[in-house]
Symmetry: C2
Subunit: 207 residues, 2 copies
DNA sequence: CCATCTCTCTACCATTTGGTAGAGAGATTT
DNA sequence: AAATCTCTCTACCAAATGGTAGAGAGATGG
């Protein structure tokens, strides 16, 4: 019965799944252990407490997210194309590993005390994203606006549309792969419209 | 010690607060009771189980949301102005009763089985919103796109920007009232850009 | 061959949790 | 005044939870 994947890693994966899907409080170590075909004490051998396990899950997930992001950002795209490439990537993530986005939502919950741990990891990446937006605005490839706010809008929109399956069902959008692509296509159109620089023929709106 | 507000309602309010902030699993009846200065059994007198209490909270919250929405929709605005009015209203809600949006997020979580209860309430309102978008697109006051998808994008963006305080902090946006207004202003600009009709033969730009 | 290290297990435990049973105190009705 | 109804309480309870202590088994190294 010896699996080739080391136990510690199997625990981490199962925990990410559970925390990201059901949330921290709704996940019990016993249930996790049973799902792994192992005793709870085996989990506690690798991670001294539930909170420590959660922290490790966050670290692991954050590394994955950052890597994915940096990888997609290092292809030298510019303007809306770069934004679209990342949106596309996040959607693939929402399909292949929905629990990852779920974990982000769990961590960023109002009462959470673990946010710091996540933002420690993604902070530099966020800074780079903001710098990118700023640069592209200056170059005239994106509509001018506040980069921080724009980033927040982008984040909310993309993660929301990518992961809020239940809301989508309530709005009559099926969870099929086809519908997912449709959502992404429509979202891309939405973002393009919002991000495209104002028509150079017309004077830029000042405030 | 007799409060003027009836106990049942006080329980409902405190429960909405707790469920919307910490989530269902992380909320215990004992903690709720203590916070109310009452015994757990008093709660169980009005609501036969924790799940029943949660259901009632959803019902109550859904009624509030629908009322707020319909009220804002009955003022006869059109096009982007109507969208902006509702965004404005949701932001006010995010400030005055953040737990309400938190509850929506809790209910629409992937593992949730209670989604039906919420969508039963808001279904008709969602339909009306979709019909509105469709109508305004046909009238040329909004850019043409898939109404369902647009609604989803709008929902995700607005609720996300309005309520993801922790993400905002991670992105260097303070939680002050001034920052909230800034977020709303920026979001409005973002949405106007995305929603404005493509061909501005006579694009009404009201303010 | 003995000692140590790694890993998983059994055996418990204190606390918390949602929930049951039913008593007691006012108020209201008959 | 008696009976009933409304509301909140005390007293429990079985199950689940996170966690401690330490044994056993196999591999590794001196």
């Amino acid at each position: 019965m010896n699996n080739s994947v080391p136990t510690r890693q199997r625990v981490l994966e199962a925990a990410l799944n559970a925390f990201g899907t059901d949330g921290y409080a709704a996940t019990s170590l016993d249930a996790l252990a049973e799902q792994l075909g192992v005793r709870k004490q085996t989990i506690l051998y690798y991670f001294p407490s539930k909170q420590a396990l959660f922290d490790s899950v966050i670290d692991s997930a954050a590394r994955d997210l950052v890597e994915l992001f940096e990888q997609e950002a290092s292809r030298g795209l510019t303007g809306i194309d770069q934004v679209e490439a990342i949106v596309r990537r996040i959607f693939r993530l929402a399909v292949s590993r929905p629990e990852l986005l779920g974990l982000v939502r769990e961590v960023t919950r109002p009462g959470s005390i673990t946010v710091g741990r996540l933002s420690d990891h993604v902070g530099p990446t966020v800074d780079r994203a903001r710098a990118f937006l700023e640069r592209e605005m200056t170059a005239g490839r994106l509509r001018r606006s506040d980069p921080s706010m724009l980033l927040l809008s982008l984040y909310s929109t993309v993660v929301g549309v990518a992961s809020e399956l239940e809301v989508q069902r309530a709005m009559g959008i099926g969870p099929s792969a086809r519908a997912t692509v449709g959502r992404r296509t429509e979202l891309t159109r939405f973002l393009r419209a919002a991000l495209a620089p104002t028509d150079p023929g017309r004077a830029p709106e000042s405030r």
